[in-house]
């Protein structure tokens, strides 16, 4: 298969796994939207209103990170329970095209929710076209990072029952504990660097920058507050996860 037919195959997987699934079962959209919306509602009720924009950007980032959770559970499920991954990779389709197609499919599921959160953000804080473009860039980077990590984790599962508890632990740690829904300033200054142990902190800081929100300097490591360093951090982690996923993916059981 040429690169063109591989690209077409990626698009087809995204179409039938992402768009068709969402069209036939719109309840998925509600499921994806509900958790970040609930967090936002919670913030609205209990926190000062100055925190609300961080919550809305958090909703965008939570949804983008959710693609990784979907990638992890879906890839493991299709391999272990349905054996569909085996059918697709024993074909002219390159394994990398399978991963990309699935990752795009996951993105397709979350696009309506992300778009809604961006609209809400525009209502809460004045944002221009550049901010939206910046946010879209961060969303794409987050999607790449999260789905790479999701696929990497999916390769470790040997039984279906492992997927949900481990997924819950990993993606709650990535999307709720770090400063996604709250400003990093809420963490005592000398401990803010700890938040950067989570790859999602890079993403949320970049998103806050893009959304025009105040991002404090990290006193211990000021470089962590700079956009180029945050972008570099995300790209580096994405490449690392993607390479590990490709290496560890069990296209062929040992």
């Amino acid at each position: 298969m040429t690169w063109r037919t591989q690209a077409n195959a990626i698009f087809r997987i995204c179409y039938f796994y992402g768009f068709l699934a969402l069209r036939r079962q719109p309840v998925f959209f509600v499921a994806i939207f509900l958790t970040p919306l609930s967090f936002l509602f919670f913030l609205y009720v209990v926190a000062p209103h100055s925190v609300l924009p961080y919550g809305v950007v958090g909703g965008v980032m939570f949804t983008a990170l959710f693609t990784g959770n979907g990638m992890m559970t879906d890839c493991a499920y299709l391999r272990l329970e349905r054996q569909l991954q085996q059918i697709f990779i024993t074909s002219p389709l390159r394994p990398m095209s399978w991963i990309l197609g699935m990752a795009l499919g996951e993105l397709a599921w979350t696009i309506p929710a992300i778009a809604l959160f961006i609209v809400v953000l525009a209502l809460v804080v004045p944002i221009g076209v550049l901010s939206v473009l910046g946010l879209v860039g961060v969303i794409l980077l987050t999607w790449l990072l999260s789905t790479s990590l999701g696929f990497l984790l999916s390769t470790f599962f040997r039984q279906l029952r492992e997927i949900w508890p481990i997924g819950m632990v990993v993606f709650t740690s990535l999307s709720v504990l770090p400063p996604i829904f709250y400003p990093i300033a809420a963490i005592p200054a000398s401990y803010r660097w700890v938040a950067f142990l989570s790859p999602s902190t890079f993403a949320s800081q970049l998103a806050d920058h893009a959304g025009g929100l105040t991002v404090p300097t990290i006193s211990v490591a000021p470089a962590l507050s700079s956009i180029p360093v945050e972008v570099a951090g995300m790209v580096l982690l994405t490449v690392l996860f993607a390479l590990m996923a490709m290496r560890l993916a069990r296209w062929r059981e040992p």
């Binding site: 195959a9 068709l20 079962q25 349905r82 054996q83 085996q86 024993t90 074909s91 296209w251």
Partner: protein, 310 residues
């Protein structure tokens, strides 16, 4: 050129009670364009062989070549030539049978027109036209399995691996699937199928292999396998005889609440007379592939047990 050549193929797993030898020095050749069946009990090594040959599993030792290409060294080239129905696979829950076939073909590089025309053909052949626009999640298990087989057979790949393709299907559906498999073979695909249905192997295969405990016990035609059983007549007794009484006449299996005896033609008259004296119903017929399989595998198990005791 042969379709598949396996030489000294071995696979050892680490099981809960130590190392398990799933395949032990297997040699096998499948001619190009042949419809080949692989028979064996559960855990005999059929699926392991099929997974190695389809580049889904690495062997511990030995080689497999598909159309002359080394499966271990050149998995990518091999994958371009093959399609597989895995054992107990299931379709996407939200796609219809037509979407399964068309989308899979398009992912494999077929044009929209080719995908549509092949889908028309295979869906009709498999009796899926009435269900073609119904999402798989509301189809029965048998229809879901047919959908999976349809998407793979529609590929017309050079080598088709079918791991228990008719599992869970009703007898009518099985026959429809057999027709489509035969059609694929007539079009030039080499087919390797594993099955527990001996009638399926007898109906479909031009050649078969019997595997037990990771060893190939037999490779040849179904007819030659039947002739390997020394007895040529099967008698089924609904009761009235003990196993010990019958075993002096030939091989005995407990079956359907009675016993099936494989014996020679010259003993039939005597046995019929004895059955009539005891007013016991008997059925007489030629030895089937199933009995030949049971005899062959049964002997292998007995030999293995005897070796273990010694």
């Amino acid at each position: 050129m042969d379709g598949l050549v396996a030489r000294s193929l071995s696979k050892t797993y680490r099981g809960t009670s130590g190392l398990v030898r799933a395949l032990d020095n297997v040699d096998m050749t499948i001619a190009k364009g042949r419809l080949f069946a692989f028979l064996g009990r559960n855990g005999a090594g059929k699926t392991t062989f099929l997974k190695i040959a389809s580049a889904l599993l690495l062997p511990t030792a030995g080689t497999v070549h598909l159309f002359g290409i080394d499966v271990v060294e050149h998995a990518r080239e091999v994958r371009e030539q093959i399609a597989i129905v895995p054992q107990e696979g299931k379709p996407f829950y939200h796609l219809t049978p037509r979407e399964h076939v068309e989308e899979y073909l398009r992912v494999r590089g077929a044009t929209r027109e080719t995908a549509k025309s092949r889908a028309d053909e295979v869906l009709e052949g498999m009796g899926l036209l009435s269900y073609q626009h119904i999402p798989a999640m509301v189809l029965s298990g048998g229809l879901q399995q047919r959908t999976l087989v349809a998407m793979v057979l529609a590929t017309e790949a050079r080598f088709l691996f079918l791991d228990e393709p008719t599992l869970g299907m009703d007898p009518f559906a099985r026959r429809q699937v057999w027709d489509v498999i035969r059609h694929a073979a007539r079009k030039g695909s080499t087919v390797l199928l594993t099955t527990h249905y001996l009638d399926e192997a007898e109906q479909l295969s031009e050649e078969l292999a019997v595997i037990e405990g990771g060893h190939v016990l037999y490779q040849g035609t179904p007819e030659a396998l039947k002739s390997k059983v020394r007895q040529e007549i099967r008698l089924h007794f609904d009761g009235g005889f003990t196993r010990e009484e019958l075993s002096s006449y030939g091989e005995v299996f407990a079956e359907r609440g009675g016993f099936t005896l494989l014996t020679t033609r010259d003993r039939v008259e005597e046995l019929t007379r004895r059955a009539l004296e005891r007013k016991v119903a008997i059925t007489v017929g030629p030895v089937t592939l199933e009995e030949a399989f049971l005899t062959l595998v049964g002997r292998a198990i007995e030999e293995e047990d005897a070796e273990a005791l010694a």
